[in-house]
Symmetry: C2
Subunit: 159 residues, 2 copies
DNA sequence: ATTTTATGTCAGTCATGTTGACTTATCTAT
DNA sequence: ATAGATAAGTCAACATGACTGACATAAAAT
């Protein structure tokens, strides 16, 4: 409301622009997750498995609690998908060397292969979008998404 | 793989950058949907209801089939949430004036009020991100997301 | 020795997606 | 005029991935 009343409201903050942002996120995210979902279905896995594989792949040796903090789900929810991934040999647990209560999570070779495949389909879509938009647009994309997320998680992206 | 081998691989196409893009989308989308989800919970609604309210609000008089094409869900899935929204007085149906098989969907005043509230929480987050990033970054954000979605839906965003 | 923490598990529920089969009303084309 | 196609709705069964709550075990911290 403040913006609408103000006479100095920049073009990119008009109601119509904000509405478009909402839909851009909806359509882009829908298609961004579409291809991985198809691949995962071949393994009878879902998006939840993807997220676990992704973050374990990115952070080998991550603990269950750390994973829970990132994913913001309950341990019961995580337990189901993580249990499947472990039983089917995609993820391996090893006791923490310092704190033996911890279970450090790592991808097995099989898990690494699936991670690679999943990364590859997403990489192709992103590379295409990045190439078609150019380096400057990519910087803008990064900046807006960073500022859109909770401050707490922005640290992950500092370079 | 092609990119990795190539000597002319721009910085913004490196594996690490692509990986960050994947996580940027995950965290930003998670937080972008978090606040609306809380608001919806007060009405015992979920994200599915939000999407219906949003697209009916944006396209008054939209038909059920058009909505199905946008949302890419089955009519049985839509039926459940749409039925609730109609029974609880958030959406009104009127027979199509030309084709009387169609049910044209519109928000009621009550539906409009919820739509406004939902828009407002999302608007605040986007305005903040946009302001902190600047007009040029916003253009880049738009461009990358547009190129990330299926070509078919890009028409919606032409200006 | 006691308490806290990290993890796991059992049980039940909910939201939202799916497939498949079938109905009704209405429009379109022969 | 009638036959087929289309728009919408419904019933039933099922899967996934969230949730809450209660409880168990092992190891660390106090």
């Amino acid at each position: 409301m403040t913006d609408i009343k103000s006479g100095t409201n920049p073009l990119f903050l008009r109601t119509d622009e904000i509405m478009q942002a909402i839909e851009l996120l909806f359509f882009a995210y829908r298609d961004f997750t579409g291809e991985p979902d198809e691949l995962l279905a071949e393994y009878s896995f879902g998006r939840a498995h993807h997220r676990v594989i992704h973050f374990v792949g990115r952070h080998p040796g991550i603990t269950v609690s750390e994973l829970l903090l990132i994913l913001r789900i309950t341990k019961q929810s995580l337990s189901r998908v993580l249990g499947q991934l472990i039983r089917e040999g995609f993820i391996r647990q090893t006791p923490g060397p310092v704190d033996r209560r911890q279970r450090l999570l790592k991808l097995t070779t099989k898990g690494q292969e699936l991670d690679d495949k999943l990364f590859d389909v997403q990489r192709q879509r992103i590379v295409r979008a990045y190439k078609e938009s150019g380096a400057e647009a990519v910087a803008g994309f990064r900046s807006v998404l960073l500022n859109m997320m909770e401050e707490n998680d922005r640290k992950r992206f500092s370079r």
